[in-house]
Symmetry: C2
Amino acid sequence: MNLRIPGPTPCPPQVLEAMARQMVNHRGPEFKALLKDLLARLKAIAQTEGDILIFTCSGTGGMEAALVNTLSPGDRVLSVTNGSFGDRFARIAEAFGGQVQKLSFEWGNPVDPKAVKKALEDDPSIKLVLVTHNETSTAVTNDLEAIGAVVREHEKLLLVDAISSMGAIDLPMDKWFCDVVVTGSQKSWMVPPGLAMVAVGPRGWKAVQEARSARFYWDFQAMKRFQENGETPFTPAISIYFALAVALDAIEKEGLPNVIARHARMGAYTRKAVKDLGLTLFPKESCASNTVTAVNAPDGLEVKPFLRTLRDQHGVVLAGGQGKLDGSIFRIGHLGFVNEADIDGVAKALRAVLGRS
Amino acid sequence: MNLRIPGPTPCPPQVLEAMARQMVNHRGPEFKALLKDLLARLKAIAQTEGDILIFTCSGTGGMEAALVNTLSPGDRVLSVTNGSFGDRFARIAEAFGGQVQKLSFEWGNPVDPKAVKKALEDDPSIKLVLVTHNETSTAVTNDLEAIGAVVREHEKLLLVDAISSMGAIDLPMDKWFCDVVVTGSQKSWMVPPGLAMVAVGPRGWKAVQEARSARFYWDFQAMKRFQENGETPFTPAISIYFALAVALDAIEKEGLPNVIARHARMGAYTRKAVKDLGLTLFPKESCASNTVTAVNAPDGLEVKPFLRTLRDQHGVVLAGGQGKLDGSIFRIGHLGFVNEADIDGVAKALRAVLGRS
């Protein structure tokens, strides 16, 4: 199968081989060495002097962890959203008692940093700002650098969902004033799902000390304390740590700037392939993501049977639309373990199924 | 390495092979079929007509999930504990606003169901009862059948930590009046860590509807709704689901009663091996666990260097004591993928390092 959804991504053979390693004691010397090594390498990719915390959970677990460690019930939260993952971040904040003001942008459009600035000026009581770096549902990358500058100017705390961006789209976390950043193993990292990596800077830690949300499994301070001793508070998904170390070998061998450049190339290559087929992009091209491409379903195309035919007859697995985009778009993932040949395969299958010449 | 800690346990080769399978779409037909199959098979082992919910997390995540779905802040909770995992269950309940009354028993002794009865009679305002079926820290199995009968008699909700028991020690959940039961993939299931399986009966579901704790990632109702459609709300640790299906093949081939009998045999075999070396058991033998054995460190033995020597010179990995037992006991895991030869290897290494004839 040519698995081209925006995560889980296919894993390289050596990563899958690492998944098959026999268990070790999670409180023994092999795991201690592995964890120490992983944290240093992830810090380099997050481009941070802060801490990396690894939780056994999905990316959404990482978002919840970011919130319950920095939010107190009743805190004013500005949720900046232009898609269903941005909306999810808001829903989590609401679930934990945040007083959420949503600043929504039309799906397919980027977040406007000037509107963020205005919202922060209009309501000085806002404490936390939530933003999605790469909105997977609409295939839009937001201008996190500009948003980060605005949020820092107003001295708010910035929590970033970078689940489908970090490791593929540049994200110099400290330089861009991001305080807590979340990513997930099944995206750019070329590793199976099961780990969320959360980066926490100094202002993030200050918020953690002050936040009064109930927490136990997600407790950042316990995780940091254990990690400093080469352990985790609770039994970690050891196999995925093994796999991540091997995937990082490949990322480091290619070099982060080259990985980022490859994703930029893959984004452009995919968009061109789609347009060459006479299809149109869902988002504005100026903000189109380099890890996922959203394509408008041509008039009269029923998306579900179309995706089924692609899979069953051509071995190409794409994703449909989420939420209100269900039935009107389909999405092609091109993050992690991907090259031009994979996209050529997608284009060939699309051409056949859509009957394009 | 002969990994003989009470989880993660070694995994059979075919389980490790399944861990190396390439990713699939977690919202596609392969995963739907896999999930449906797993849920039916897990129900049979939990011996329940209730629902099985699978979360990507450690066992402690499952305990937190059980609590935040059934507890409202301010609820009176009776925490029945005879070890550090019982104490952890109480700490989680406290973290989420439970008014916890602890009913503690001396470590190494079992829970006394009559004392539970008295505590429930003394305080009719108690709503939830927390109990550990198999207390891994002291290697004691509690009489869950008797405790369950008492709790049901008083019409309280019973949450059970069965992380290191279910699948190895008999636990007919419905018959024993357990309302929510938690287990973890890295224990009797012979699978790497990363999944918690939570079984929820009808009284559990009623409590879920009433409980007002904040929850999102752990939300039982969302998980049930998605699982009924063959999906999970958030990206699951797919590899571990693959592995669990293969491990269940082995468990079903052996047959649950035979698996349980093998663990009883392994427990007795391990205790005899330890006593034959002139060592003494930490818990009372009448309540000794069939999945883990706790051994008193002989006078003058420094446990940490002793465990290091066992590992480095004999390839045998045992666990030390937790909390207040750190330095005074060591523990031998014998759950999941284990037979007499594994324990013979442990005994041989112990004999060599302790200089016993």
